[in-house]
């Protein structure tokens, strides 16, 4: 048992937390502004695929990363327009985006790379294994500062709590929400890019495998606050790291079922949502399109 608690476990935890953290911080901006973002999974996939594809063609991971960010924002803009301009149900729109982003990368990779859903291998020199990690963890204090120490953050929080009040104070509610959702697309895009050109070296079909939802879980577990969200991401990253290390390890002749470790984030989130551990209070206007009262 002992040999698994080594330095490598710490590194592994940090690396596995990184995509979660990037997506969760993205979700934080969107949800603090009042727009539910269950599309994080799809946004990450957009970032992951685009970053890998562009890196393959351009031979430069920085261009790939930038493309991943732009792709995340482009897809997020669909969510934004549907939810803000057309007042579509935010959960339904998010679900649609997630389905869309299973299809689009597969469709495109079939067309461009003649494969069913993956991009070609990217050479090791063209990967960025650590930069996104640094970005992710630097973004935590930055997000805290933006949220609580800048006019932008004040307006963002106001829009998510009481859009009517923000509107009356001369703040453009929809403008803030567009900005927030696009920002979430950019961050989730980095998170996705890290998966394809950081942790691994190609895009594979549905490679996020639920990380967008774990990020959402971490956001709720962290009660929509940056530092707590980071801690939640580290916890969930840690469970993933453990589950990898425990694969094939036998305790008293019995294999430890991986599944039980995998479900920890989900169970914890339900426990928190049900109020068994403290109260998770969501932004008050979360999920509600802004409509001027009559």
């Amino acid at each position: 048992m002992n040999e698994i608690f080594k330095l490598s476990l710490i590194f592994s935890t940090i690396r596995l937390s990184t995509p979660l953290l990037l997506a969760a911080l993205g979700g934080l901006y969107s949800e603090r502004a009042g727009v539910i973002n269950i599309a994080l999974e799809g946004l990450m996939l957009a970032g992951a695929f685009t970053a890998a594809a562009v890196t393959h063609y351009a031979g430069n991971p920085w261009i790939g990363l930038l493309a991943g960010i732009l792709a995340g924002m482009a897809v997020a803009s669909i969510h934004a327009v549907a939810c803000i301009r057309y007042k579509a149900d935010q959960v339904v729109s998010g679900t649609a985006i997630n389905i869309l982003m299973i299809g689009v990368p597969a469709l495109l990779s079939g067309a461009f790379f003649l494969s069913s859903g993956s991009t070609p291998q990217i050479p090791k020199d063209n990967l960025i294994p650590w930069t996104p990690v640094v970005i992710a963890f630097l973004l935590v204090p930055l997000t805290w500062y933006v949220l609580y120490r800048t006019p932008f953050g004040l307006r963002l929080r106001a829009v998510g709590e009481n859009p009517g009040a923000a509107d009356a104070a001369g703040v453009s509610v929809n403008g803030m929400r567009y900005a927030a959702v696009l920002l979430s697309g950019a961050l989730a895009g980095i998170g996705g890019a890290y998966l394809s050109i950081g942790q691994s070296s190609l895009f594979t079909r549905n490679m996020t495998s639920g990380r967008g939802f774990i990020a959402l879980a971490a956001l709720i577990f962290g009660k929509w606050r940056p530092v707590q969200t980071m801690l939640a991401c580290l916890l969930f990253g840690f469970t993933e790291a453990i589950s990898i290390q425990l694969q094939g390890v036998k305790v008293g002749g019995e294999e430890i079922p991986n599944q039980f470790i995998q479900i920890i984030p989900y169970v914890l989130t339900i426990v928190v949502l049900a109020g068994f551990i403290g109260q998770a209070r969501a932004p008050r206007a979360l999920g509600m399109p802004y409509q001027k009262e009559r």
Binding site: S93, G103, G110, G275
Partner: protein
């Protein structure tokens, strides 16, 4: 006039999705007309196309109904996926444990069962198991919402992952035939098999997996209609969805309705297990669902959350799924994933349009709980 309006928007959404999808096809270098011809033509060919279209539509009718029942109560059940997995596993478990001796993947007769029930008992029992277990899994989310204010959208997402992990654990560690390389359970007893429709319809080859579950799906549509619009229970569920404070005033317990609606919803989703396990795979097969739970959202939305509409939209999506196979094979670039894209676009259009007409505006319950 009213009917026309109800029909118009879904049709526009579908047409718009096909247009956008066509542009995508064009951009990746194929001929959209040819692609769509291939897709629709093959899906409507007799008997193979139609048979399989109906087969693919079957689970979608169930999940569409599941989403619709919850929606009528003001709830968004995106947990049909998890509900159908636990139900499918449970129905397989019952059919293994009470199904007598079977022949496993290696051709060896084995007996994992406690008893060997005849078909007249085993089939109804297996179906009931699917409904009850799916319903119970759905009711968890309902209960958490009703009594703890936990938003059903988030809890059902989480419960999906938990469901998948749990059934995969049981399959892998307890019910797999030792040595089987595929993650699936032992086969279910032959008495639990439900007949394919090829037995009743002349000209339909036996290779088409369309089975009695399709008839059950149509029956479920009728039952859901009667339940929602002709019983006091349905009235209470719809009243809760339409205006929870007025329902409360009318002496209706909102909490009970939430749990009931989620249970009924989960039970309907659970019926997918009947199609897949009793009618098709004849075993629980890990990750068998082609996103049926999520596609159910599209089916319900497009079908206006009404059983009749759901039949039509399930047929449409079943058709897409069937037609995607030749598209994959016979076009140069387009893969079967075009279907996902079309589905997503349909949902986006319908969702934005539904909000237009205010039919989402009365998410009374959504406002009352934590997300």
């Amino acid at each position: 006039m009213k009917l026309l309006r109800e029909l118009l928007f879904p049709l526009v959404a579908v047409a718009a999705a096909f247009v956008v999808g066509g542009i995508v096809v064009l951009l990746i270098g194929d001929d959209p007309i040819y692609t769509y011809k291939l897709l629709i033509g093959s899906a409507l060919s007799w008997p193979d196309g139609i048979g399989r279209t109906l087969f693919y539509a079957t689970p979608l009718i169930f999940t569409g109904l599941a989403v619709a029942v919850a929606f009528r109560c003001g709830l968004l059940n995106i947990g049909a996926e998890g509900q159908l997995y636990v139900a499918a596993f449970a129905t397989a478990w019952v059919s293994i444990k009470l199904g007598g001796t079977v022949v496993d993947v290696f051709g060896t007769p084995v007996n994992y069962s406690w008893a060997s029930l005849p078909a007249v008992l085993l089939v109804p029992l297996a179906i009931l198991t699917a409904i009850v277990v799916g319903g119970a899994w759905g009711a968890i989310a309902g209960y958490l919402k009703a009594y703890f204010g936990a938003h059903e959208v988030i809890t059902t997402i989480m419960l999906n992952f938990i469901a998948v992990a749990l059934v995969s654990y049981f399959t892998q560690y307890h019910y797999k035939v030792p040595g089987d390389p595929i993650l699936q359970t032992a086969p279910i007893g032959a008495a639990a098999h439900i007949p394919r429709l090829s037995a009743f319809i002349p000209g339909l080859p036996e290779s088409i997996p369309l089975n009695v579950a399709f008839i059950l799906a149509l029956l479920a549509c009728a039952l859901v209609y009667v339940f929602l619009w002709r019983t006091k229970w349905g009235y209470e569920i719809r009243a809760t969805g339409a205006n929870p404070t007025a329902a409360e005033y009318g002496g209706i317990s909102i909490r009970k309705q939430i749990v009931l609606a989620m249970a009924v919803s989960g039970g309907l989703a659970g019926m997918v297990g009947v199609n897949e396990v009793l009618g098709y795979h004849h075993r629980y097969y890990d990750s068998f669902s082609e996103n049926y739970g999520f596609t159910g959202i599209a089916v319900a939305l497009l079908g206006r959350n009404h059983p009749v509409g759901i039949i039509f939209s399930a047929l449409l999506f079943g058709m897409l799924q069937r037609g995607a196979i030749p598209v994959d094979a016979f076009t140069e670039h387009v893969s079967k994933d075009l279907v996902q894209v079309l589905q997503a676009i349909v949902i986006l259009f319908v969702a934005a349009e539904a909000a237009f007409r205010g039919s989402f505006g009365r998410f009374g319950l959504l406002k009352r709980s934590k997300v």
